[in-house]
């Protein structure tokens, strides 16, 4: 991991994180901040998804479940138990990570398409559970009282704190993604993605590695979820477990180039801008899903390596610096 600091790509990530912090802060630009906040969420979700998809080769349709559960744990701890935000976020991240590890050991016995299908079912299952779970407000959800923003300096300042939290989470997800890629663990994952049976015969401890990466892909989305729903001051099952968000994360990961750190980040940013434009334009607002679908279809049919695949084939030198 320490080896990471010497690599140029590490500093590219750091620059990006710095840009995300400085540009809105210096101009006190709230609109830019909100737009970038959404981008950080997409980048976090897509980078984390990429750990499963691009490295180990497992499609997770239901990554939203980490986001939603993280949101619920954080909001519940803050609201019902008056925990400070940071502690709640840590609890959300660790809790969801641990749950993912346990669940993962079970469902990761399923191969390829079966695993993918079961991830959809997990979302349905968790949503049904939460809808009937009274301590978490059942289907009505949880509202947070505004007083929770006071320790952060009031609602105005709180939004900035939350934003920086989101940027930090995004940064961590990019560092994590890169760090894993250049590690021995990452090599094992890539081998699993290429040929799981051959990898096992070579000595890669496949069940454990798959569970670790599944768990790793859960932690930061959970924290992001905690921040997002804390900011909204409200969480309900239909929002927390909305499959379209994890679908978009998938589209973004494939758009940018699964398995690449840069591609996923660029893809997330581009997609978020596109989406923002679509939402504002009256004609297209209902058809977000359609756009996602068309994009995904085009990528799968014609550009399975995504944006970065295209860039690497045109400019092979970039592959040495970018990841």
């Amino acid at each position: 991991m320490a080896a990471m600091v010497t690599r140029p790509f590490f500093w590219i990530i750091t620059l990006v994180v710095a840009a995300f912090i400085l540009f809105p802060a210096l101009g006190d630009d709230v609109q830019l901040r909100e737009s970038l906040a959404l981008a950080t969420i997409y980048i976090t979700l897509a980078s984390s998804l990429n750990l499963m998809l691009g490295y180990a080769g497992y499609i997770n349709f239901g990554s939203i479940v980490f986001f939603g559960l993280g949101g619920y744990i954080c909001v519940w701890l803050v609201d019902a138990h008056h925990w400070p935000l940071l502690a709640s976020l840590l609890a959300a991240g660790i809790g969801v990570g641990a749950l993912a590890f346990i669940f993962g050991l079970g469902i990761l016995r399923l191969r390829g398409p079966f695993f993918a299908l079961s991830t959809i079912g997990i979302v349905e299952g968790v949503q049904a559970f939460v809808q009937n779970f009274e301590p978490w407000g059942g289907s009505a959800g949880i509202y947070i009282s505004p007083e929770v923003f006071t320790p952060l300096g009031g609602p105005g300042r709180a939004l900035w704190v939350i934003y920086f939290g989101l940027v930090a989470t995004m940064g961590l997800s990019l560092y994590l993604s890169y760090g894993i890629k250049i590690s021995k663990f990452g090599l094992g994952l890539l081998a699993i993605g290429q040929n799981e049976d051959a990898a096992a015969i070579l000595g890669v401890p496949t069940p454990r590695y798959k569970a670790y990466v599944y768990s790793a892909s859960a932690v930061l989305p959970a924290v992001a979820g905690g921040l997002y729903f804390f900011k909204s001051a409200f969480i309900q099952p239909s929002d927390a477990f909305d499959l379209s968000l994890s679908t978009e994360a998938l589209v973004v990961a494939m758009l940018g180039g699964q398995g690449t750190v840069t591609g996923v980040a660029i893809g997330a940013y581009l997609y978020e801008e596109l989406r923002g434009y679509l939402l504002v334009s009256g004609t297209f607002s209902h058809f977000q899903l359609v756009i996602s679908g068309v994009l995904l279809l085009l990528i799968v049919l014609f550009f399975p390596s995504g944006l970065m695949g295209f860039i690497y084939s045109r400019f092979p030198r970039t592959q040495k610096v970018l990841e």
Binding site: G57, I59, F61, G106, I107, R109, L110, R111, G112, P113, F114, A116, L117, S118, I120, G121, I122, E124, G125, A128, F129, Q131, N132, T247, M254, H286, F287, Q288, L289, V290, I291, S292, G293, V294, L295, L296, L297, V300, L301, P304
Partner: protein, 288 residues
Amino acid sequence: MLGIIASIIDGVLVGLVYGLSAMGLTLIWGVMDVINLTHGTMIVGGMFALYFLATGLGVPPYLALLPVLVGGFLAGVALYWLAVHRMVGRPPLMSLLSTFAVNLVLIGIGTGVWGTALFNVAVSLPGVSLGRYTFPGAHILAAVLAAVIAASLYLFLHRTRLGKAVRAVANNREAAELVGIPTTRVLAVTVGCGVALAGVSGLLIGTLFPFTVLSGDGYQLKGFVVTVLGGFGNPVGALLGGVALGLLEGAVTPFVPVSWTLVIEFALFVLVLIAFPGGIFASRRGAL
């Protein structure tokens, strides 16, 4: 006690329709290792076709089966050329993604136009009474039709030349190609049949229960459960699997809130796969 038995019998009737609804999915999966994630939406397509033909144009509901069959077949062939053709031979994950993408487009259009409004087609037929319990005529007729259609599929696969070609391609596509079977045409026909089956099962389900644009998800999940229970590409297995599922639902629903039914079925799906990684009849993969 009698109530539970009645519930179970009704479950079997509905189960036959579930079996039919899974047949399209298992056929496509078994023949070309493609997982059609538009399956649920195609079922909804059948439901909407029923609505517009029966309620809008006044066509008697069961006569609408024919146009839905034909329309579904054409839609299936279109789906093949759009999203499946280039994916054959690639890992099943890719076809999962491509059909998923098409599904997004369809759902996006569907919800954009109709939102999440509830639709209902009122079909009332004289039922059969056993003591205090009446089995709705619609349930009985739907079950009978499901069985008839399933039998027709079986006859098609085993008694016609085209059906034989389909089974050959399912067994070994390259070998089939070598003996002169036009595999691309056969694959397109298979997807056409698969979607047609989804469509007509949707029509039949539409005569039983109300629906929205998003209802497809639930039936698709049931389709997956039935597929792993009954074996890939096995129409008879699908029917039996559907009945088993219907039985399970009949036995469980009196005791459990409705929202949990799907969760239980999903759990069943996962557990069966953990125990039998290729489905219960894994050794028969490739044999219809």
